[in-house]
Symmetry: C2
Subunit: 142 residues, 2 copies
DNA sequence: TTTCTACTTGCAAATGATTCGCATTCGCGT
DNA sequence: ACGCGAATGCGAATCATTTGCAAGTAGAAA
């Protein structure tokens, strides 16, 4: 009874390492870095070299399975599953927690671009500020 | 008659290298990387070590004189003068040209955040797609 | 099921951006 | 001009990411 696992994406060769990475991404609540995934592999039985994680992640991105979501102020690239739906995040500038944004500011937006005729295919939005915990902590201090 | 130069920002110690970096940023049309600035220094008389450029840039950012604007798909951080006005960019996914966005999608946006009570202090928006040259080139090919 | 081959991975070493350490030099107030 | 603290030159260190290559493996073909 492992049928509650997602079907394996077609056209992707199935290996232990790829299964592991996909599984981690599927259960992640927020975007993960390559070394997040690598660490998780070490802590569990599954072993998988860091460069392999990078390769798998790049491959997933190239296949449209995952998306690369670098977050400002982070020196590392973050990856998440491509859920084929818009997602944007708010990042706490204090603790770097990443929180999902439930609506998208682009929905009703008509961009005016300096160079005319720029064919837009996507966008990235990121809010930053203080999450409730940090905000509370900081107002306590002052 | 050098009075058309901007006044030197107060509280900032004036050095040859800082003057150079500030001048480059003032005349830049789009965000620059540390090595863009370093290269410009080499090509002109002004010499200035790369690590110094980084230090100056960090310092400018900490003083609110400049802002760090990492762009997706670029491995380098980009810096631009803090013109105390909102700026967002569209980035060409083909040639990586950076083009300014004339309006801001956040103007009329009420964010709904997964975690309630996130105190937003800023945001980052980036559109991506094809600039007119690349778009033209690519439709020519197909 | 066994074989064959192309694709994957383990591993180590390379790379590229950025930072750090420290001796020297340079602004700038006195 | 003098002196001190801050800024720079320079090289070496660091960190994330990439690459090269030999060995291992999935899965199509036999």
């Amino acid at each position: 009874m492992k049928e509650n696992e997602s079907a394996w994406p077609m056209g992707i060769k199935k290996t232990k390492q790829r299964k592991f990475v996909l599984d981690v991404l599927e259960h992640a609540e927020s975007p993960l870095s390559a070394s997040d995934i690598f660490d998780k592999a070490r802590s569990e039985d599954s072993s998988c070299w860091l460069s392999t994680v990078y390769r798998i992640l790049d491959y997933f991105v190239s296949e449209g399975l995952a998306v690369k979501t670098a977050v400002m102020d982070s020196s590392m690239a973050l990856y998440e599953l491509n859920r084929n739906q818009h997602r944007h995040y708010a990042v706490c500038v204090n603790c770097h927690k990443v929180v999902e944004l439930m609506n998208c500011p682009m929905e009703k937006f008509e961009p005016e671009i300096a160079e005319n005729d720029f064919r837009i295919v996507g966008h990235r939005v990121e809010m930053y500020g203080y999450c409730k915990d940090c905000d509370r902590k900081m107002s306590g201090i002052h």
